[in-house]
Structures are given as structure tokens and as C-alpha cells.
Symmetry: C3
Subunit: 209 residues, 3 copies
Amino acid sequence: MSAHALFLLLDLVGTFAFAISGAVAAKQRNLDLFGVLAIAFVVACGGGIVRDVCVGAIPPAGLSNWRYLTTSVGAALMVIVAYPQVTKLRHSVLFFDAIGLGLFAVSGAQKALTYGHNAEAAVLLGVVTAVGGGTLRDILLARVPVILQREIYASAALLGSTLMVACEHFGVARPWTPWVATLACVGLRLASLRLRWHLPRFANRNPEA
Amino acid sequence: MSAHALFLLLDLVGTFAFAISGAVAAKQRNLDLFGVLAIAFVVACGGGIVRDVCVGAIPPAGLSNWRYLTTSVGAALMVIVAYPQVTKLRHSVLFFDAIGLGLFAVSGAQKALTYGHNAEAAVLLGVVTAVGGGTLRDILLARVPVILQREIYASAALLGSTLMVACEHFGVARPWTPWVATLACVGLRLASLRLRWHLPRFANRNPEA
Amino acid sequence: MSAHALFLLLDLVGTFAFAISGAVAAKQRNLDLFGVLAIAFVVACGGGIVRDVCVGAIPPAGLSNWRYLTTSVGAALMVIVAYPQVTKLRHSVLFFDAIGLGLFAVSGAQKALTYGHNAEAAVLLGVVTAVGGGTLRDILLARVPVILQREIYASAALLGSTLMVACEHFGVARPWTPWVATLACVGLRLASLRLRWHLPRFANRNPEA
């Protein structure tokens, strides 16, 4: 299997995992069939669509490449017909979601570099690719995005995209650099889940201010 | 009256109906004058603006064509000065809203095809054009978008844009194809309103999962 | 100091003030470190990023110009380490926020004109630049945007961008036109704060309608 095919496969694995987390959240909010499909698609492809609009990749791949839509719809239907089983796989979902996070952060940063943008834009767009879908999900479900509140999630994406962009920027990128950056992101995310790491919050002594 | 002028007229009818539904919702939430105008404009033009950004039609027509802004502002002012009368026309508003839905779904899909995008992108962008404004309205009002929760609404838009794109894709489009696709969408929407059709929801036996 | 350097300096002052207001709101909602940084950045740069996407300035300056990110992060860190002092400077924050509003409204309108768009698009994009970040902040915090509910805020931005665009449109723009337009916006905003001016709301006698 070529590296390209492997990367596409893993990208679709990430899409699938993200779509499942979206469909589960939509079903728990009692949305209808269209709502479940729409939220699954938004979580899986929303971050990439925002990135593509910002880098000038028109039309966004999430809208024009049938693989992403099909994968999202498949994941959503699986959640609908096999909800009890999917919720038992909760830990697997978190695992694949972490893989999706790492792959999206690195591939998003790479795409921004491919389109000729600078290091800062690439790092930020890698993070947007990775966490944009989940943020849109929470906006549509009218709640404060989880990634702003707790857990090492966006920070892990930031680590992955920064590693990738730094290696490219300083000319030390090798064919396996994307994999190392992805692994760093996935590893940090999984370690933080297992060890319950959190970013600091700041006690609010003056809530009326 | 030429077909082009008729289409523009109907497009503005849809804009007007969408703006009225937005202004009514904003007024019910006790927003101020700017809030009512802004929500009316967002509902009427938000979907088209997102579509234009995604197809590369810069600047978006909703921002640069004075007809859309003027129509939205006119509808909002009408709601402000004649609110009791407008709410009595509730059924008319739903009727025009359905027409707007069908026209936006079909014209959105056509615009994406005109800009050279593929069938999948055209179908999805037709739906975005039709339901994007209402989704943005609900996001701004901090509630879960109605279209994700109940009623045949986005599904009707999907029917209209799919019919339009399929006819183009298989080379059987005729000058009257857009009208048939629009009618199919409007008919499904009105029938679902009258007959209280809904998409299935999925009983949630495990809300904590 | 050249006019260009002065304008950039004031633009960064506006960015700084907007970032502070975002970080304060995020801290009050008990977001974590990433959440505070992200909301500060979104408030400071979100409006400009939406404007750049709509005018076709790819990639958006907010993503690719390090000054904006650095200024936002600096402001957020200042809020974190010196929150009690910052809240005491509440009136200063409102003052700088008003300056940011005026500068963003005028510079946003100018950028749209520079990219060859028409007067209507320029006026609307000036307002989007000025109020977009605050709107995104409120969307992310799952509340109805403040600017839709009360106070002369978007209206002041509308005054500034309209003045700027009208002078350009009618060929009477002078080198000091941007400053006059900015001052008009800032002046209206500060006067409305001091004199408690509001836009009218419309009593809702029929909330169920």
C-alpha cells in the first residue's frame, strides 16, 4: 500500500470517528434523521471546509469529494441502527477520535503549506481543521464548545501542527515527519485522557466584574 | 416578462419571505432595531453568502447586490410597523417561506454548477443556500436549529436541489427543469406542513451514555 | 511617525482592546487556558477573517500576520495574570474597545474598496469587521449576541463605514477622511455609553404568535 493510499485511508478513519462522535451527540439531543446526518457531516467535514475556504481551495474537498460525505453518512447510519453497541465502544470512539485529531491537525497544516501560506497560518489552520468540526457541533447544539472548557484537545492539535510546520520551516522534514507529528498529537491526547490532565483554569473571585 | 426577470422576481419573493420570518423571530426575542434588521438580513441572505464563499463567487451577491439588502430591510420594517397584521398572515408567511426554500435550493445548486463544481457540491450547496439563513438565525438566537429537530424542511430542499442537479448531470435538463424541481420542493414542504409529516427520531433509551 | 505606521499602531491598539474584552468574558465563563486564548483571538481577529474571506484576501491577515496573534495572546495573558487590575480598568477597556470599533469599521470598508468591491459591500464588510469578532464570541459562549440586543454599537460602526465609503464614492475623500470617519464612530459610541442611548425595542404584545 502506498503512503498516499495509507494517508487517505487514515484520513477517512478520522472522518469516520468524528462523524460517529457527532451522530452520538445529535441522537442524545433527540434530533431527527436529518439532524443526525447533518451533525455527523459537520463534525467530520466542518473543520476541513473552513480550512479550505481560508486557504482558497475552492470548492472545499468536504463538499466535492464523495468519500467524505459517504463516510459521514455511513457512520451516522451505524449510530442509528446500532446505538447500544456504539456506546459500548465508547473507549474505541475516543481512541479513533484522537487519531482523527492528529491526522486532521497534520494534514490541515500540510494543505495550508501546499497552498503557499506561511508558517503561522499553517499552524492555526491545522488546529482549525482538527477542532473546527467539534466546535461547529457545539455551536449547532447551542452549548459552549467543550474544547474551550476542559481537557487537552486543541492543545494536542496545536502540538501536532506546530511540529509538522516547524520541521518544514527549518528544512528538516522527512517522509516520516507527518507520522511523527500525528503520533505526538495522538499520544498527548490519549495520555491526557488516561492521566486526567487538564489545562489550568483561573478561579474567578469576582464574577460580577 | 422574461424567464430571467421572473426568476429574479421570485428570488426576491423568497428573500422577502425569509426576511419576514427572521424579523418575526428577532422581535419575539426582544432584540433592538439593529437586531431585527440584522437577523432579517442574515436569514434572507446568509445561506447565499455561505454558498458564494464556497463556490468562489467573491464578493457574495448578498453583500454587493442592493436588491437583497433593500428587500430584507423592507421586510423587517414591515414587521416592525405592522406586527399584528403580519402574525395574522402566519399561513401566508409559511407559504412564501416554502417558495423561498424551493427557489433557493434550486438556484443555489444552479450557481454551484455554473461555477464548474461537481454534482455533489452542487446538491449540498443548494441545501446550504436554502437552509443556511435559518440555521444562522437559530445560532444567533442561541437555540438548536429548528431544521435539525423536526419537520420536512431541509429534506425538501435536498429533494429540489437533487432533482435539479440530476437532470443537469444526466443531460435531460430542459428550460422548465428548474421550475419542476422548485415545485417538487415546495410541494413536499407544504404537504408535510398540512399532513404533519416528520422525519423519524430515535428514542433515546440511554441518555447518560 | 508615518501615517501608515500610525494606522498600524492604532489597528493593534484595537486588536488589543478587543482581545482583552474577549479574554475577560472567557475567564468569567470559567474556560481553561486554551479557551481564554482562543476567545481573545476570535474577538480580536474573527471579524477581519470573515471580511478577508468575503473580499477574497486569502489567506486572511488575522491568520498569517504574526502581529495580530501575538497581540491577542499578549492581551489574554495580561488578563490572566492581572485580572483584578484589568477589571478596575473597565472604563479604559470600553474606551479602547470604542477606538477598535471605529478603526475596524473604517479599515474594513477601505480594504473591501481596495479589493474592488462596490459601496454596499464595503459598508457591510466594514460593519462585519467591527462587530464580527464580538458576535463570534457570543456564539461560542452560547448566548444571544449583545450587539443585537442593546446599545449603540453596530450602529456606530455603520456610521463610520458609511462615512468612509460615501466620501470615496462621491470622490471627496481626503487623506484625513479615515480619521474623521473613525472619530465619528468612536464619538457616537462613547456618547451613547455616557448618555445611555439605546436603539428602540418593540414591545411584544403577543409573545406566543
